[in-house]
């Protein structure tokens, strides 16, 4: 190593610093920065009022070629040849189609082979790339951070701003290093990493920050696993969470429909290799998680920060000092109808949901299918498997995963957000318990009065088989399942 030249060393920068600096369009004193947006994803639920706003001001979409639409939130997951029974949802879909046609925005809508959950199709199409700024009127836009993009959810007013100007007013976020060292044990997955982080910092712990996930356990994750981690950044209050790109990232992107090709590919990879955080760069906050010590995680309460290792007991309000936190826990346990101190293992389950932008990708379905192969869903339990996109569905059918699910007695659906947000009729009945691979266990999130345990696809599948919350490490052959996911 050579000694640094005095006064010549550039200040070490984080990946967030680098992406931010490249995208600042204007920086007036006393105002937030004007930030350029590389990719704008839209869907049916949070865009109609934005297009209305454009029409009222006689504005056009500035960059339709950097905008892309799909229908995912409110669409049925029943066979596509059936009519939409929800007329309000159908009207919203029609309006999306009309808006996209009027403003020249490509739509991967119902019936398109590239339809899917917005955060599944972006990466799948190769639209999601390192170093980009990516926004969508959906808080799980943080998913795209897995590629080393600065990606965050926005409101409908901001959707209108991005449509009109391809920019947003943003304040520079603070940075939060989440270092995950060590190795995950068999049966412990990406979902368990993020649930463990949320259990530690709570659902407001990352407010005002961008998480950067680092460390050996993060590097060892596949792209789809990285997406699972980044997806739930918002559940810790961070609008974005990202992972610096590496060869795993490049291998995933190469050859996809919208990926750079030829000389442009080489140029892009060279540029992307400069993105990772410089040695010596500092973060505003930092935390470390030991992957070796992680167990499968599950939530017991009514926000994603209320999680415990699956072998632990439901916490007791009597042990909580802070009065507000104690009241919140009491309220959550009353809603969930759980007793303080009871084990979560063995808790009965009515429904198991495998899907969503968190865990609805092909590797998630492979894991669930590996657990379910030659087994049956327990009597009285409904297992619903909803692929994250039409392409994921076709691939799962090609690989025989759909046959495994169907043979196990599962309900194999069309793609969409489905029971993660329960807008489309896929929902729990009041009082029902689900183990769900989705991202939110808020009251009523999966249907009014429904009770959600968030967990990994392996935990979900294991619980579907036994009919109660089950540790996936008890599955026969669990040691070999870790390798099943693929890239």
């Amino acid at each position: 190593m050579t000694a640094p030249t005095p006064n010549k060393m550039p200040t070490p920068r984080t990946i967030v610093d680098k992406i931010w600096a490249e995208h600042v369009v204007a920086d007036d004193p006393g105002a937030p920065s004007v930030l350029a947006i590389d990719l704008h994803l839209i869907h049916e639920v949070t865009s109609p009022q934005a297009f209305t706003g454009l029409r009222e001001r006689s504005l056009t979409v500035r960059r339709p070629g950097q905008t892309v639409a799909t229908a995912d939130h409110s669409i049925p997951t029943t066979p596509r040849n059936l009519p939409m029974l929800d007329l309000q949802a159908a009207a919203q879909i029609n309006q999306l189609e009309q808006n996209c046609a009027d403003f020249g925005i490509p739509l991967h809508g119902i019936g398109s082979p590239s339809q899917g959950i917005v955060h599944v199709i972006g990466p799948q199409l190769g639209l999601t790339q390192p170093g980009m700024t990516i926004v969508c009127g959906d808080s799980h836009t943080s998913t795209h951070g897995a590629f080393g993009a600065l990606a965050f959810g926005i409101g409908t007013s901001e959707v209108e701003m991005v449509l009109a100007t391809q920019t947003l007013l943003q304040r520079r976020p603070r940075t939060y290093e989440v270092r995950v060292d060590g190795r995950l044990a068999p049966g412990v997955s990406a979902k368990d990493i993020i649930l463990a982080l949320l259990a530690r910092i709570g659902i407001g712990g990352g407010t005002g920050h961008v998480f950067e996930y680092r460390g050996g356990a993060i590097r060892a994750l596949t792209m789809e696993q990285r997406m699972t981690v980044c997806n739930m950044s918002i559940e810790g209050g961070a609008r974005a969470g990202l992972i610096a790109p590496d060869d795993t990232t490049f291998e995933y992107i190469e050859g996809r429909a919208h990926a750079p090709a030829g000389a442009e590919w080489d140029e892009a990879v060279e540029r992307w290799r400069r993105l990772p955080t410089d040695e010596g760069a500092t973060y505003d906050r930092s935390t470390t998680i030991d992957a070796d010590g992680l167990e499968p995680m599950i939530t017991y309460g009514t926000n994603p920060g209320m999680g415990i290792p699956i072998t632990a007991s439901v916490p007791s309000p009597a042990d909580v000092q802070d009065p507000a936190a104690r009241r919140a826990l009491e309220h959550a346990l009353a809603y969930m109808d759980l007793r303080p101190g009871q084990p979560i293992l063995g808790q009965k389950v009515d429904v198991v949901f495998v899907g969503s932008c968190t865990n609805g990708r092909i590797s998630d379905l492979r894991l669930a299918a590996a657990a379910l192969k030659d087994r049956r869903v327990a009597d009285g339990v409904r297992l619903m498997v909803t692929p994250g996109s039409d392409e994921v569905k076709r691939e799962a059918e090609r690989e025989g995963l759909a046959d495994v699910f169907k043979a196990a007695g599962a309900d194999w659906r069309e793609s969409g957000c489905s029971m993660c947000i329960a807008m489309n009729g896929d929902q729990l009945s009041p009082g029902q318990y689900s183990v769900s691979t989705s991202n939110r266990n808020f009251e009523g999130r999966q249907g009014k009065g429904g009770r959600t345990f968030l967990a990994s696809p392996l935990t979900a599948a294991a619980s579907a088989i036994s009919g109660v919350v089950t540790d996936p490490r008890t599955l026969p052959g669990i040691e070999s399942m870790a390798a099943v996911g693929g890239r």
């Binding site: 369009v25 006393g30 105002a31 937030p32 004007v34 350029a36 590389d38 639920v45 949070t46 109609p48 009022q49 209305t52 001001r57 500035r62 960059r63 339709p64 070629g65 950097q66 905008t67 892309v68 409110s74 929800d86 309000q88 009207a91 919203q92 020249g104 490509p106 639209l127 790339q129 980009m132 959906d138 808080s139 959810g153 926005i154 409101g155 007013s157 901001e158 701003m161 009109a164 100007t165 920019t167 007013l169 304040r171 407001g204 407010t207 005002g208 918002i234 559940e235 609008r239 919208h258 507000a324 936190a325 807008m423 939110r440 808020f442 009251e443 009523g444 999130r445 009014k448 009065g449």
Partner: protein, 208 residues
Amino acid sequence: MAEPFGIFTSKVVPIDAENVDTDQIVPARYLKVTDKAGLADALFRDWRFGEDGSLKDPPFILDQPGMAGRQILLAGDNFGAGSSREHAPWALTSWGVRAILSTGFADIFRGNSLKNGLLPIVVAPSVHQRLRELIERDPDAQLTVDLAEEGILLPDGSTIDFEIDPFSKRMLLAGTDELGYLLSKEPEIAAWESGHAPRIETRVEAGA
């Protein structure tokens, strides 16, 4: 576009819970609308109404006598967590809320509120506690919110100072929105674009 945000006086609705998420503020099944109207009925829907659609007994705070027409919420920490749905501030303003006092707000909700003439006011935990005690003693106590002076006037004549970033303050006081500001940046946007070729072209057919 919002009205200019003037000084106003109102009684307070206490929401005694932390981490109130936007799924509670507006449940997802009410997001199938294509306009912003009528969301007041969806506000805190599942905390207010039972299975059969009638008000819960006892009623949620919003439906208790004397609460209708109040413009200030006193909310617990991290209000507005979760989903980015702007339907949450639309529903709150539609019900009549103009300011929310809390020790903290979720980022997306906070930004969405400021764009809809809804003022999120962050106060210290000790101030929050003081306000809670005031409202417990006198549920009909009136507060005056003065954005221009960045202060809240209490019934005893004392004031609580708060801070808001100057840009949001300017926008709210003038009743203008950020889109107008961004549109005024057209030359800067064009200059940036001329130096940065688009990274992607979504209109190219997949596989082309």
